[in-house]
């Protein structure tokens, strides 16, 4: 490891403080001299990687952490540079951020709002982190985002898919690269309609918490727009491990499609149970019974094993993408760790780069400068006529041309519709990209009812 310096509060590294050491402890210095929270004044800058290290999402968290370490290497000019070479913005030079070496601290969110906030707070208060990123669930993302807003640091969300993160709970200091439930629905519905026909009856099983609700709302609206009928929506407790009693009635409900609005362990179990009950071998209403999983991830697909074969869903990114950015990222990640990155790893890597780039372009670590840089110069995605179509436009980080929309700090980019591969060639080759849905199709206005009720507020530099 090259990272031999301890993370520490930037303040301490100034000569002035070193002088204070000689001058002996006589004064209380209220270090209000800095213009914003944790202003780095030494030769390095500290980022906080807050990922689930214990609990059901620990593997996803571990993958996020790998991506972060890779991003730090690349920012510091080590390794092969990864996506720095393909990124359309050329502000980053591989000499850290604004010439300061990038260091990091890690913490465990435990996938609990309280623990995640405690961990983030310790990074901010103790380690002097200037930016917090990571996470694997929407509840945590929303909670930590709110904290960062109050504390005056930037939050670059990791894996969070709920509409609320950039909807009713959006914050000026928070940014999301990952796609959201609405986009999943908008991308998936037309493919499903084309494939399974427009007159389907869908039965929804939905995890009973915020993400589940927004996911269900989105996919139901999108499929109904294609002519599908939503027969029933059953909320399942998050703590469920056995979904048999929710799956058993499906076949007699008149529905011919089962939509599983579940993620992680819930999804693995509900899909496994659905396949056990032989749903996919049945004919209902003269059609083959089908199962849909709106939000997919490769790690989940691995957990579900054989059961995912032929099942459709959507995903933010997949390692088999053939654009230059994705290829570069897979190459450096795979070389370092021996397996391809997950979508969570991708989004976390990209978020780190985007943050660093915004600091470089804005010329300051000040959160307000970062917010301004990430909100961009009012550039627009081509082919979408909307007043809200402005923000920071970039390319080369996978997913094609991408807009960080200034209105709600949500990234707009192509969405992948995938299905479980029938004949995987390797243990990583589980999903197959069926369609790359163009951004225009998943576009929504910031005042879409599913995202209403929030207020971005103003950037908070703290201090």
């Amino acid at each position: 490891m090259s990272n031999k310096d301890i993370s520490r509060r930037g303040v301490l590294k100034t000569g002035a403080v070193a002088g204070a050491g000689v001058a002996l402890p006589t004064i209380f210095t209220a270090s209000q001299a800095s213009a914003f929270t944790n202003e780095p004044t030494g030769s390095s800058v500290t980022l906080g990687f807050n990922v689930p290290q214990t609990g059901p999402y620990a593997d996803e968290g571990a993958d996020e952490l790998r991506a972060y370490q890779l991003a730090v290497e690349h920012l510091n000019g080590e390794g092969d540079g990864g996506m720095l070479n393909t990124f359309s913005s050329k502000a980053l030079k591989g000499n850290g951020i604004l010439g300061k070496k990038v260091e990091y601290v890690t913490g465990d969110t435990q996938t609990k709002s309280d623990a995640a906030r405690a961990s983030a707070k310790s990074m901010i208060e103790k380690d002097g982190a200037i930016m917090i990123t990571g996470g694997s669930s929407s509840g945590v993302a929303v909670a930590v985002q709110a904290l960062c807003q109050e504390a005056g640091v930037i939050f670059m969300a990791g894996l969070t898919h709920s509409n609320d993160t950039t909807g009713k709970d959006k914050k000026a200091n928070g940014f999301r690269h990952f796609f959201d439930a609405y986009m999943s629905g908008a991308a998936l519905a037309p493919v499903l309609a084309k494939l399974y026909g427009p007159d389907r009856k869908a039965y929804h099983l939905t995890a009973d918490y915020t993400w589940g609700w927004t996911q269900q709302e989105s996919i139901a609206a999108a499929t109904e727009a294609q002519g599908w009928e939503t027969v029933n929506n059953v909320l399942t407790p998050l703590a469920s491990t056995d979904f048999s009693s929710y799956i058993a009635p499906v076949l007699n409900s008149g529905a011919d499609v089962l939509v599983l609005n579940h993620y992680g362990g819930n999804m693995v179990n509900s899909l496994t149970n659905a396949v056990q009950f032989g749903l996919r071998d049945k004919q209902v209403n003269g059609k083959n019974f089908e199962i849909v999983v709106p939000l997919y991830s490769r790690l989940m697909a691995k957990g579900a094993g054989e059961n995912v074969k032929g099942i459709f869903g959507s995903t933010n990114w997949h390692w088999s993408l053939q654009d230059d950015g994705s290829k570069a990222f897979v190459q450096s990640f795979g070389t370092k760790y021996g397996f391809p990155p997950s979508q969570a790893a991708h989004t976390c890597y990209v978020q780190t780069l985007l943050y660093a780039d915004a600091v470089e372009r804005g010329g300051s670590f000040n959160p307000c400068s970062v917010v301004e840089a990430l909100e961009g110069d009012d550039s627009s995605l081509p082919g979408i006529s909307s007043d809200a179509n402005k923000g920071f436009l970039f390319d080369g980080l996978g997913n094609g041309p991408t807009l960080y929309r200034s209105a709600d700090h949500q990234c707009f980019k192509d969405v992948l519709v995938v299905k479980g591969k029938d004949n995987p060639e390797s243990e990583f080759d589980l999903l197959e990209v069926v369609e790359i849905t163009p951004t225009a199709q998943v576009w929504y206005e910031p005042d879409n009812p599913m995202f209403a009720g929030g207020n971005l507020g103003t950037c908070n530099p703290g201090a």
Binding site: P56, Y57, N269, K302
Partner: protein, 343 residues
């Protein structure tokens, strides 16, 4: 009607897992007087016995296939399990496919050994200690066990499918004269229920009809008196601990194809199984089994749409609600004995 039959089946199936775990928990409590918070971890280890056997059977050697490339563009390394190369691809594949049933043979000695080691190495020193200490130490052990599993197998669930012959589902309804596809039920879940019934019956007849079992039962009722008869009751209790561990382990092995094992599945079952044991009545084996099935069935009924539309969210709280009602109407659970764990 068909919906009710389906939920009864589901309930019996869930109840099987609850009953098996609660049975072992009650055995340990009844014989050794120890509150074992590591019992869920034993169930989890059982499930991971299935994973381990699957891993062992699929131990592979690598050959390089130059015609294909891996995700980095290098020639792909193809893995072939040794079993397949020894017995030929077809026989090999079907051996691998049967890894869960084979894991039963593997799990019995492993679980007995783990149970024995646990009792001799740790639990033994806690007989005379307060229940609070027992809880703390077994909880610590449970954390250690699950973290070790997490370290070797990761946090993601791992699929351990049932043999092909038991995949898919069985049209139960046609047997009962319903239309096709009305009551279908997965084969493996039926197997699980049958398996649980056999294990429960075996444990009860072992306690009922063998001298060993009679001594143990007498010891459960009155340890002192049995000790006075000059019988080394402690030794038998040690063996009972191993047996309880094996029951939990077997419940875990057979559960693996139903839901992919993950390292925290033990904790998921822990609280529930304590509720089951207490609702059944501390120290009562039939009570534990009865309560297991009762709660399983009630939980299944509570998740029916018809019930949920009237009482939203009832499926999340039903178990606890039932526990409260039972304990308030029957002070010692369904079949509990007086004076056990009441102080």
């Amino acid at each position: 009607m068909d919906a009710i039959i389906l939920q009864i089946l589901n309930g019996l199936d869930k109840g099987s897992a609850y009953a098996l775990i609660a049975l072992g928990l009650t055995l340990i409590f009844g014989t050794l007087g120890v509150v074992n918070f590591a019992h869920g971890a034993l169930f989890m280890i059982g499930a991971f016995c299935a994973v381990t056997v699957q891993r062992l059977l699929t131990l592979s050697y690598e050959t390089v296939d130059p015609t294909r490339t891996d995700f980095l563009g290098n020639p792909m390394k193809v893995k072939t399990p040794y079993i397949e190369s020894w017995f030929g691809p077809e026989v090999g594949a079907s051996i691998i496919e049967w890894s869960v049933p084979l894991a039963i043979l593997f799990a019995i000695p492993v679980m007995l050994l783990i149970g024995y080691a646990m009792e001799r190495g740790l639990i033994k020193h806690f007989y005379k200690r307060p229940h609070a200490d027992q809880i703390l130490v077994t909880f610590g052990l449970a954390i250690v066990l699950q973290e070790l599993i997490k370290h070797y197998y990761g946090a993601n669930p791992i699929q351990t499918p049932a043999p092909d012959a038991f995949r898919g589902s069985f049209d139960f309804g046609q047997l009962l004269g319903f239309d096709p596809n009305v009551i279908i039920y997965p084969y493996w879940r039926l197997v699980y229920f049958g398996f649980a019934a056999i294990i429960i019956a075996a444990v009860f007849s072992f306690l009922q009809f063998t001298t060993f079992g009679m001594v143990v039962r007498a010891g459960m009722a009155d340890r002192e008196t049995v000790g006075l008869l000059g019988i080394d009751i402690d030794k038998r209790f040690t063996i009972m601990f191993g047996l309880a561990a094996a029951v939990a382990g077997l419940a875990g092995v057979m559960y693996a194809p139903i839901n992919a094992p993950n390292y925290h599945m033990g904790m998921d079952f822990l609280v529930l199984s304590f509720v089951v044991v207490v609702v059944g009545g501390m120290g009562s084996l039939p009570g534990a089994v009865l309560a297991g099935f009762l709660l399983g069935i009630l939980e299944s009924f509570a998740s029916m749409n018809e019930v949920k539309t009237i009482l939203p969210g009832i499926d999340q709280i039903i178990i606890y609600l039932v526990a409260i009602v039972v304990l308030l109407t029957r002070p010692r659970g369904l079949m509990g004995r007086k004076g056990v764990m009441e102080e």
